[in-house]
Symmetry: C2
Subunit: 419 residues, 2 copies
Amino acid sequence: MTTNIDVASDRRQRSADTELRRRAKAVVPNGMYGHQNMNAFPAIPQFISRSRGARLWDADGNEYVDLMCSWGPVILGHCDPVVEEAAERQRRQGDCLNGPAPVMVELAEAMVDTVADADWAMFAKNGTDATTMCCTIARAATGRKMILVAEGAYHGAAPWCTPFPAGVTAADRANLLQFRFNDIGSVRAAVGEHADDIAAIIVSPFRHDAGFDQELVDPTFAHDVRAYCDEIGAALILDDVRAGFRIHHGGSWEPLGVPVDLTPWSKSIANGYALAAVTGTDRYRDAAGGIFVTGSFWMGAVDMAAGLATISELGRRDSVSRMRDLGVRLRDGVVESASKWGFDVHYTGPSQMPNLLFANDTDYEMSVAFSAEAQARGVYVHPKHNWFVSAAMTDGDLDMALTGLDGAFSALRVRYLNS
Amino acid sequence: MTTNIDVASDRRQRSADTELRRRAKAVVPNGMYGHQNMNAFPAIPQFISRSRGARLWDADGNEYVDLMCSWGPVILGHCDPVVEEAAERQRRQGDCLNGPAPVMVELAEAMVDTVADADWAMFAKNGTDATTMCCTIARAATGRKMILVAEGAYHGAAPWCTPFPAGVTAADRANLLQFRFNDIGSVRAAVGEHADDIAAIIVSPFRHDAGFDQELVDPTFAHDVRAYCDEIGAALILDDVRAGFRIHHGGSWEPLGVPVDLTPWSKSIANGYALAAVTGTDRYRDAAGGIFVTGSFWMGAVDMAAGLATISELGRRDSVSRMRDLGVRLRDGVVESASKWGFDVHYTGPSQMPNLLFANDTDYEMSVAFSAEAQARGVYVHPKHNWFVSAAMTDGDLDMALTGLDGAFSALRVRYLNS
């Protein structure tokens, strides 16, 4: 159902994208991999050439208001001048060096200053590095092996957590137990007789499994899972890789008053530069210092300088408030358009990271068509993954987005509601 | 034994490094982690501020000829102007985007053109990402679970391969079997009755385990392990993360005429920009296209542009020959100095990636002292890890390195040989 959708995008130039897809198919397995694999969505442009602020341009030069923000990393806007200047200043000195640059200490100090539950920080490149490090630290600290994960939650793409099983062995998942998000009873049931062997519970700040309605955390659940971790002596890992610094200028559960032990970060902490981090409390400091994790580029000083500038600017500009406000106006507009054109939609999650699905659209046919129609009208959204708002959006960008999305509903009405 | 070594370095300014170490200790577990943890070597500067060509400067402004090349990544020299210009050109367009930039296709095409055994390429951020992906692809392709690894070999720092066990569970290693490098009998013995369940044999192009003499591959072993993989239907993975593009402009076993199935790359393929890659043959294309691996920054276009420029420049400048020639002159000079001052040293491995150990120095006391004396004379080497030569070294850089290392032997003679 995802092919041959006849959308307005046909009026847009697509020849460069088509040609790049053809060349990629020859030298990249399946033409692309991971979350960037848009082969299932031919109407969505695969290759992107340029970006600035809240706009981007595909390989054919078509312009979009960006509601994906590079799947989260871009939070202050593409090529933010303050971040770029900090990165360039470090680049003139050096990037990948024989040891860390002084900026590494400044960045660790900034994380500790900014995040309530951070007594220390470590840095890496991938969100998966950070989630995996948290599990390893928890195991080292507790001498236990099992980790509780929520059913359907995404914590990265290493064999222990990748959502698709090809090439994964049973041993890779042997020490995982599953619970249901927001269901403390399911946590207790999953633990069962293993209480003495639970190293950690890893949980995302809200339920943001791709392809499903998002679900905000029940504050009672957050408090209960904290108390239960204390009861059984397990670490509470809050996976803030996707939501970190978009929900709160600090850990995403700080507003709930729920402290956590270990937090993996990535995506938006360096506005698109490749950086991940783990923060933790003093209780886990020795264990964190005792594990061996590393990478050739983990000390990359330019990425760290970008991270330091990003965290500072997010605070200085009060960007979380700005994104929340923009997100509320986006939600109000989209929900109004859906209603106006007669669609029953589920618009879920925090306003800065909304997810749009259509009721009874189990094979995503309508959301794929909607995204294609939105692309054709210059609004970049994804049919199955939550969107991201950046602080760079101007009121004009928001108006352009709302107009394009309204047009997409209008086009869908012709096709699906026959009027 | 590694503390309080009284070296000439005491004459060098160290206050900035000392202060940064103090601050790091407060906000980073153990003050530093992974291979960058220099806490065991107080005489070696931890923090590096600046680099250019074959020179670098520590946080106190002390200058060094660089024989570590950021642990391998820097191959054309720090801040190579051609690579920097290519990166900057891409940066002006965009870096971390909603999809890959066109340069991703060009880079994959360049890898396929350059590497004999590459029919396709995929990209990631860490060497560990790439070695892990190769194992996953081999498992997906064969439907088998076990991987053979050489005893003591380093293939990354994820739980399945990190050299230190803290936080690692038995399940993480449940599907590994071990053989001895260059010993085909040990390969057959390790496989034993598991022949039908071996997904892959992973091997480095030569033995480069840190802290040990390096060992070049016996060409007969390379041919035998290839034939044995074919016999049992397993993939041959050549881990070229550390050596790739320094030994040969292509795969490191190409000169031996030994084809391999899957190759992880990282370190030097982008001259210090954060990039890793997997290449493979058509036989493994479908499996590679069927696994789910990804990362938020894996499509970073600037790193890819740097990689494309690096691979192109390495070929155009015939950099492997230059590094080999420099390495031979370095080896000849170091071996001559050692002999002149009366030291029995083991100088092993390819000339471009040499390893220096002292005979009967089981606790590395002499190699630590030697490194400290070398640092004090403006030569950056490591006491336990192989060194790396870059193509940026001038004859003057080489002379400065040889003079400094000769001086280090001279200082050691006073201490250890009492004359």
